[in-house]
């Protein structure tokens, strides 16, 4: 492929020496509307390392699915990638033409879609749909070999062999989603994007699917981006979490740190809003409104909803800075690593708000 194929280097101390599977650099995606462009993804940069699961969270409309679609180069019009790069296993997808893109898809980057109920072609047998993914990229396969491979894939996600000959409408939602998992790993891609893979399922089936995902991930060592807003599921499944707000990344943190010492006020609010079965408390994140995405204000994107907003937040946009290993946040509250102490204040203020 003609486009840049240099392997990107890790940009943070956290990732030093690790293989970078996905490098997203200053990615911008705009949706054209009659009254101006909606800046759905407004300059997003992050990396995913080999074997790692990264969570991508944020409220509806924050740009997490758009980011994922941009990495897949599947932003639908009127949306378009305005600038930036997304390098998947050495290939910048933004510069590829249709044919190169088609050849790259599923081989380097697979998708486990949202809404599993409807993700399989209703008039095609499961075997044909999995074979489709395999034969498109590897060419026509000997019948026996193909069958053995598909049965192996089904077995890997814990589905019985009879699913092979079935149609999607004969499967339950959880089974369909596991078929999607089997399909995603058919070509052993280095990266899988799972877009809210369990959101359409009930909790029991969610658990089964989440378990399947973890098993597969562990066995194949594949990197994964898990999009979702279920913080509980994220806590159990991901290594690092990326928090997005209004098209920007506000915090990236190893998952345990994100829960223990969330830096950005939005992350703090998100975690504070996880419903507890021990006590009932009012939801905190709903206060304030998000700005119009066509006209982001100067300064911080979270200024209208931030409980700790200062003068500087109105004028200067905070950049993502690494405070401790792998823990980045974009917030004026912490001007230097020494300011981490002020987090204690923030946390205390948070508690205050809770009452």
């Amino acid at each position: 492929m003609s486009t840049s194929t240099s392997t990107p280097q890790a940009k943070t101390a956290y990732g030093a020496g690790r293989e970078v599977v996905l490098d997203v650099d200053e990615l911008r995606v705009h949706y054209r509307t009659p009254t101006g462009d909606v800046k759905a993804v407004n300059g997003v940069s992050f990396q995913v390392f080999a074997g790692e699961t990264v969570g991508l969270v944020g409220e509806s409309g924050c740009g997490k699915t758009t980011t994922a679609m941009a990495v897949l180069r599947m932003v639908q019009p009127p949306g378009r990638i305005v600038s930036g790069h997304a390098t998947v296993a050495g290939t910048d997808v933004v510069g590829l033409n249709e044919k190169e893109l088609r050849e790259m898809r599923w081989v380097k980057l697979a998708l486990i879609p949202q809404g599993a109920m409807n993700s399989l072609n209703p008039v095609m047998r499961i075997r044909t749909q999995i074979a489709d993914a395999i034969e498109t990229h590897l060419g026509k396969q000997p019948k026996e070999k193909l069958k053995a491979r598909i049965l192996e894939l089904l077995n890997q996600v814990g589905l019985p062999a009879r699913v092979y000959d079935m149609y999607p409408h004969e499967l339950s939602g959880g089974m369909k989603q596991r078929v999607c998992v089997a399909m995603a790993i058919a070509l052993n891609p280095p990266l899988i994007i799972a877009d809210e893979p369990t959101s359409a399922l009930d909790v029991v089936v969610q658990r089964v699917v989440a378990q399947t995902l973890m098993d597969v991930k562990k066995r194949l060592g594949v990197s994964m981006i898990l999009i979702g807003h279920d913080m509980g599921l994220q806590a159990q499944m991901v290594d690092r979490i990326i928090v997005m707000y209004a098209g920007n990344i506000v915090e990236i943190a190893p998952i345990t740190r994100a829960f223990k010492i969330p830096l950005h006020p939005y992350t703090q609010l998100l975690i504070a809003s996880i419903p507890s079965i021990k006590e009932r408390k009012p939801l905190k994140v709903t206060e304030g409104i998000t700005h119009d995405l066509r006209n982001p204000p100067p300064g911080c994107v979270f200024q209208y909803r931030c409980p700790f907003v200062q003068e500087i937040c109105r004028t200067k946009k905070p950049t993502l800075r690494e405070y401790t290993s792998g823990h980045q946040a974009a917030c004026h509250l912490y001007e230097s690593p020494d300011d981490m102490g002020s987090h204690a204040q923030a946390a205390a203020a948070m508690k205050e708000l809770d009452r």
């Binding site: 879609p113 072609n121 209703p122 498109t136």
Partner: protein, 336 residues
């Protein structure tokens, strides 16, 4: 699992028989509800032509016996059912020596030939145009040319037929005005004869295809847009499938399903739906025969034709019902 089982086939066959039975009963009842006596009407028409017919009362009686109209209603009814079952409808009232089944037998191949061809072309062309109109990757040049074709569908077929006749038969003189075949050629499997048949069929077929295509195209376009929004299309795209496979196996294949249901219904009208076209092209098919039977008050011929129409409609629906699970696996015939 889906598929066809025996109890489904049996139940469909019974339903098919029931439909035909009810249809046959209706064609028996309806003419008898209308005032007047076909035989008396015919004799009075003869009287009007020749001024006087000898022994007209005796003649009416004789003809009533001849056409089985003398018995009580249930005997007539059973006789009619028997004639439906044997497809033997006796003699035509107005063209006496001709038998109804022979007249229908001569007309059916013309209509079936013309309409099978025209309907299939209409269906395929219309759906392909609609699919291209509804497909995001269609080049804009193609996309803007397609609606032009659809303007034809706003012209009534009989006007359109006349326009075609004017242009191609009268003005350019390329194609014949009317009829099914030029009688100067010997009947049989030879090129001039077949060529003549094709030439005569071109204009009626064109009138049907061009005026009906738009409806199919619009329906298909809507279905394509709906299908394109489905999650499985997104996943198929992410799989990196070739555009042709994406278009045919994923998009068109699913968007076609409601269109096939509509095709089943239109197949039912296949034989009877062309009356108008056949009439103004004087095409020797069932439609034209039905038209002449109605204008001549030929009750036996009408009964025979309408029964054939019922039979073909019911059979077309039966066939589509039986093959539908092969087209859409979600339609399962297993009794639960």
């Amino acid at each position: 699992m889906g598929g066809i089982n025996r109890s489904y086939i049996v139940s469909r066959l019974l339903l098919w028989l029931l439909t035909i039975f009810i249809g046959a009963t209706l064609i028996f009842i309806i003419p008898r509800l209308s005032p007047g006596d076909p035989v008396a009407a015919m004799v009075s028409r003869m009287m009007a032509q020749s001024g006087y017919v000898e022994n007209s009362t005796a003649m009416i009686e004789a003809w009533r016996v001849k056409f089985g109209l003398d018995g009580p209603w249930y005997v007539q009814y059973l006789n009619f059912l028997k004639s439906c079952f044997t497809l033997d409808f006796g003699y035509s009232l107005t063209q006496f020596p001709s038998r109804v089944d022979e007249m229908i037998g001569r007309a059916v191949p013309w209509t079936v030939g013309l309409l099978t061809f025209a309907t299939l072309v209409t269906f395929i062309a219309g759906n392909l145009i609609g699919a291209l109109m509804g497909w995001r990757k269609t080049p804009n040049s193609v996309r803007s040319a397609l609606p032009l074709l659809l303007t034809f569908s706003s012209i009534p077929p009989f006007i359109f037929g006349l326009i075609l006749m004017f242009i191609f038969a009268f003005w350019l003189g390329w194609l014949p005005f009317s009829g099914g075949v030029d009688s100067q050629y010997p009947e049989g499997f030879n090129w001039p004869y077949i060529k003549s048949i094709l030439e005569h069929a071109t204009l009626p077929a064109l009138a049907i295809v061009l005026t009906n295509m738009g409806g199919w195209a619009l329906g298909m376009r809507g279905m394509m847009i709906t299908t394109d929004g489905e999650d499985y299309m997104l996943l198929a795209q992410a799989k990196g499938l070739r555009p042709s496979r994406l278009f045919f196996r994923y998009a068109v294949r699913n968007a076609m399903l409601p269109q096939l249901t509509a095709l089943a219904l239109s197949l039912g009208l296949l034989v009877g739906g062309s009356t108008l076209v056949e009439t103004y092209f004087v095409y020797p098919g069932i439609g034209w025969l039905l038209y002449s039977a109605i204008t001549n008050n030929d009750y036996t011929l009408m009964g025979g034709i309408v029964f054939i129409l019922i039979l073909t409609t019911a059979t077309a629906v039966l066939i589509i019902d039986l093959i539908y699970p092969l087209i859409d696996p979600r339609i399962s015939h297993a009794r639960r």
